[in-house]
């Protein structure tokens, strides 16, 4: 095809549609000015195709490209990273559409749209995005398909492209399953590669967990081998925070070993935990992890850690024993660290602590007195507490009296330390909802929680959840029923949306499978699956399996290509049917016999049909050897052959 030919309008529209389907889903994470620019450019191209506006001159297209690149550099601060890369791609694709209508431009635009589609997967890999990508691919293939058929109508183009995509699908399945999976990255990732994750962090200040609690996003799922533990035992341990500066709690360095520092005991719960990528090492195991979990590390603050940050959704088979006594022997250094308080600040809280510890009360008494203080103190559990000033603990305890779990945990630990007891804040998740469809416990960001741990000589670390004192239903039934009416709360936790919850359960059961089998299909899963098929998972087997399966598919495709011919000549088929029918009645056609001679012989044998037999033979001979009649004539002949009655 000559390069200077303009592509047809139909093809240009397909290309525009493909670009729109690819660019617009990026709107969520691109800067608004860039989204506006892209929409403007796409709209301009649409108007141009409808002859409403003229095309942009080349210098202007180039100018916009340069200006956009500069603005991206300013906005993102750098060029090398996935976010600015995706932004640049989006602008380039839109501009490429405007730049020209040659087939070469169209091809470049199609390739750009493929890259941009991949870019979308950085942010989102749900089923919806997969469907969008499929639609984008289909449209892009339609545009390519149209380049060579300028006059073909749109439905024909779409059908042709759909045929190609359908023929490509089996290859996709085979390669997806058998192509050797390598755990990335192959090279260093840009710094922002994993920025788009939400979850706990290793610091906590007032408001940090309540902010997280507004998110419905799933943090992890746990599928228990048997009955899941009751809600009150479902404490999923995350970062343990020791250092306090009066406002912010921070984690300290811990050491981790291949075996736990405690003797696991009590009933065991086995479960597999599917963790969403959070780019951290902690696994949020249920308190307290059992010994003997392979490839995982036990930190001395009882967290379970992965060897590397979890950068992709991953599955871990775990066991926990919630009733294990922990911290019976704690090192002096740790105990010193969990007693430390800032020298100044929060005088009223310190005075309260002194009252709690009065009369030489023992540790257990101090803890229960403090707990009672929260239970009887008219505290309100709310997601939107009043903001706190410099003496945050004082203000919460005596003035505002309202807070979220981090306020309770923080104040409680402060009181304990001020009363001379070793104590620390533990963050993590609490509870989780059982999905009735597949019986997995789904833990969302809204289940994020903070509680306290107090060390008592002879008892070790004891979990105290002051939130349970102020709002017992939080621990028993979850967040939705425990916070103040009128507080903003996640949509699905509102009672009037039970039907939506039901739908959500089903949807999430499906997405769980999607996550496990499509998104989570990695080296391990591949090994599992191939083992089930009785295959080894070395490169040779995988390569052979890929090659063999792709080869079979290729043969099937070639079979399709050849098959069309055999069924293709309806005239020959009709004639052959005619000969077969004659043969069944005792008169096979001789190999050397032409149609007319054969008909003469048949006519002698079946004089009742002599005329029709001769006509059929002569029509066949005419169509075969002289003029190529249309398909309608051939169909008509074949019907006459079927109707003929050899009796």
């Amino acid at each position: 095809m000559p390069p200077n030919v303009e592509v047809s309008r139909r093809t240009a529209f397909c290309l525009l549609a493909a670009a729109s389907v690819t660019v617009l889903p990026h709107a969520g994470h691109l800067p608004p000015w860039l989204v506006a620019l892209c929409v403007l450019l796409l709209g301009w191209r649409g108007a141009q195709l409808l002859d409403r506006v003229k095309g942009l001159p080349r210098w202007l297209v180039l100018g916009v490209a340069l200006a956009a690149a500069l603005a991206i550099k300013i906005d993102f601060g750098h060029f090398f990273g996935k976010d600015p890369g995706v932004a640049l791609l989006a602008v380039l694709l839109c501009l490429k559409l405007l730049e020209g209508g040659s087939p070469r431009d169209a091809r470049v635009a199609v390739l750009l749209s493929f890259f941009l589609q991949l870019g979308l997967f950085f942010y989102d890999q749900t089923m919806g995005v997969a469907a969008l990508a499929l639609a984008g691919t289909l449209l892009a293939v339609t545009a390519l398909f149209g380049l060579h058929q300028p006059r073909a109508p749109l439905p024909g183009l779409l059908r042709g492209a759909a045929t190609l995509v359908l023929q490509g699908l089996p290859f996709m399945l085979v390669l997806f399953v058998f192509f050797p999976r390598i755990e990335g990255p192959l090279w260093g990732l840009p710094a922002d590669a994993h920025s788009a994750v939400s979850g706990l962090s290793d610091t906590m200040e007032p408001g940090s967990i309540s902010e997280l609690s507004l998110s419905d996003a799933i943090a992890f799922r746990a599928a228990f081998a048997g009955e899941p533990p009751p809600n009150a035992l479902r404490y999923w341990r995350g970062p343990v925070l020791t250092e306090f500066d009066g406002r912010t709690w921070r984690a300290v360095r811990t050491t981790s070993t291949a075996a736990p520092a405690y003797q696991p005991g009590g009933p065991v719960y086995a479960y597999s935990l599917t963790l969403e990528a959070h780019n951290r090492r902690w696994l949020l195991a249920l308190d307290y992890p059992d010994a003997g979990l392979d490839d995982l590390l036990y930190a001395d603050d009882f967290q379970l850690l992965a060897a590397r940050p979890v950068r992709a959704r991953a599955r871990f088979d775990l066991r926990s024993r919630p009733h294990t006594p922990v911290g019976m022997e704690e090192s002096a250094a740790v105990l010193a660290a969990v007693r430390r308080l800032p020298a100044q600040g929060n005088p009223r809280a310190r005075a309260l602590a002194a009252r709690l510890a009065a009369d030489g009360a023992d540790a257990g008494t101090i803890v229960s007195r403090a707990f009672d203080h929260f239970a009887s103190g008219n505290y309100t559990y709310t997601l939107t507490p009043t903001l706190l000033g410099a003496h945050s603990v004082d203000e919460f305890l005596f003035d505002t009296l309202e807070g979220f779990c981090e306020h309770y945990a923080s104040a409680f630990v402060f009181l304990m330390r001020a009363a001379g007891l070793p104590a620390r804040v533990v963050t993590g998740y609490q509870g989780g909802q059982v999905n009735p469809i597949d019986d997995t416990v789904v833990v969302r960001q809204s289940d994020a929680h903070a509680w306290a741990e107090v060390w008592i000589d002879g008892q070790g670390w004891r979990r105290v959840d002051p939130t349970a004192a102020a709002a017992p239903q939080r621990i028993e039934r979850g967040l939705g029923e425990s916070i103040r009416a009128g507080d903003p709360r996640p949509l699905l936790m509102r009672p009037e949306f039970s039907w939506l919850r039901e739908f959500r359960h089903r949807w999430e059961a499906v997405s769980n499978h999607w996550n496990l089998w499509v998104l989570g299909y990695n080296e391990d899963r591949q090994r599992d699956l191939l083992a089930r098929l009785g295959l080894e998972t070395d490169w040779r087997t995988l390569t052979l399996a890929t090659g063999a399966a792709a080869g079979l598919l290729m043969l099937a495709l070639l079979g399709w290509a050849f098959h069309q011919r055999r069924s293709a000549d309806p005239l020959d088929q009709a004639w052959q049917a005619f000969c077969r029918r004659a043969a069944r009645h005792g008169l096979p056609r001789h190999a050397w016999e032409g149609p007319l001679d054969f008909a003469t012989r048949l006519a002698d044998r079946f004089p009742a049909h002599a005329g029709e037999l001769r006509r059929i033979a002569s029509d066949y001979a005419r169509m075969r050897y002289r003029a190529a009649d249309g398909p309608a004539a051939v169909r008509e002949l074949s019907q006459r052959i079927r109707r003929i009655d050899f009796t």
Partner: protein, 324 residues
């Protein structure tokens, strides 16, 4: 293979590759063994893009990235098979090629037949510099016309024809090389502004005749090659009309003998053929009866289009005795 052997192999291969093609029996059917399939430039760019997508998918652990890459790969493979299928079992029959004068272009007509009940879009036929694009609907046949410059008189074989398609996505080029049994006859180019026809033996007039001579003007007719520029109706042309030749009531009906040997000795063979061609046209246009005498062969007196064709054919094949 040793280096010297390889060195010897290459020229042999090139000779073999450029060998004079043997025309094939008609009809030519495209079976799988003679269809070649390779990625086009666009296909290579596509493959490079897929490789990049695959590396990005591995690097960022993008499961859907793998899926997209593999789907596009599958589409590429399917397009390869479809390109192959677009040519498979196509039938090509050489149809005809009308004779032309040297310097014109010869129109070779090939008949392509699609017996399949699906269309075959985006076919391209190439021979020499001539290219033609066509599309065959389901179960149909169509003529493809390839124009080749006629640079030498004599038989002009169509030679090597490339039938190519980039259907469906342009990522793959499928092609087949054909040598259809089709040749066109190239007459010598008629001399421009030839001298007047030699003297004829008139029907009782017995004087020098000039075909389409300078007698009384009788009318105009369409210009033909070989007409003298002196007789072009320049005034009509200047008014923007077609090129017309003035006709005169000359001494029509004369017997003119066009003799190779009677031409001036200074003319070489091709110049003689050119002049004879111009004279043949002039004689036919002038309504004369004419004979042609060439070394070794003679065409008796006659006139009419068939006679003209025979005469021009003799000129075209002069000296090509073996190819008659």
């Amino acid at each position: 293979m040793d280096a010297p052997q390889a060195a010897a192999f290459l020229p042999r291969f090139l000779r073999w590759n450029r060998r004079a093609p043997q025309p094939e029996a008609s009809p030519i059917q495209l079976f799988q063994r003679r269809i070649y399939v390779l990625p086009s430039g666009a296909g290579l760019a596509y493959a490079a893009a897929l490789l990049t997508l695959l590396l990005a998918s591995i690097n960022y652990n993008l499961s859907l990235g793998y899926a997209l890459t593999f789907l596009l790969g599958g589409v590429g493979v399917a397009s390869l098979v479809q390109a192959f299928r677009n040519l498979l079992h196509l039938e090509i029959r050489p149809a005809h090629c009308a004779p032309v004068f040297q310097g014109e272009s010869a129109a070779f007509v090939l008949r392509l037949e699609n017996r399949r009940d699906t269309p075959r879009p985006a076919l391209s036929l190439r021979a020499g510099n001539g290219e033609t694009l066509l599309e065959l609907p389901a179960a149909s046949a169509a003529d493809a016309v390839l124009n080749l410059p006629a640079t030498r008189r004599g038989w002009l074989p169509i030679g090597r024809v490339t039938l190519e398609t980039r259907f469906p996505l342009g990522l793959v080029r499928a092609w087949s090389i054909l040598h259809p049994d089709l040749r066109g006859l190239v007459y010598p180019a008629p001399e421009n502004d030839p001298p007047p026809l030699p003297a004829g033996t008139g029907d009782g007039h017995g004087r020098l005749a000039r075909a389409t001579g300078d007698g009384d003007f009788t009318g105009l007719r369409a210009h033909q090659r070989g007409d003298s520029p002196r007789h072009i109706a320049w005034k009509a042309l200047a008014r923007g009309g077609p090129v017309l030749t003035k006709q005169f009531a000359g001494q029509a009906g004369e017997h003119v003998e066009l003799d190779w040997h009677a031409l001036p000795g200074a003319l070489d063979d091709e110049a003689r053929l050119s002049r004879l061609a111009a004279w043949l046209l002039a004689a036919e246009n002038g309504g004369h009866t004419y004979a042609l005498r060439l070394p070794g062969t003679t065409l008796p007196y006659g006139h009419g289009p068939a006679h003209l064709r025979d005469a021009l054919r003799l000129l075209a094949l002069h000296g090509h005795a073996a190819e008659r």
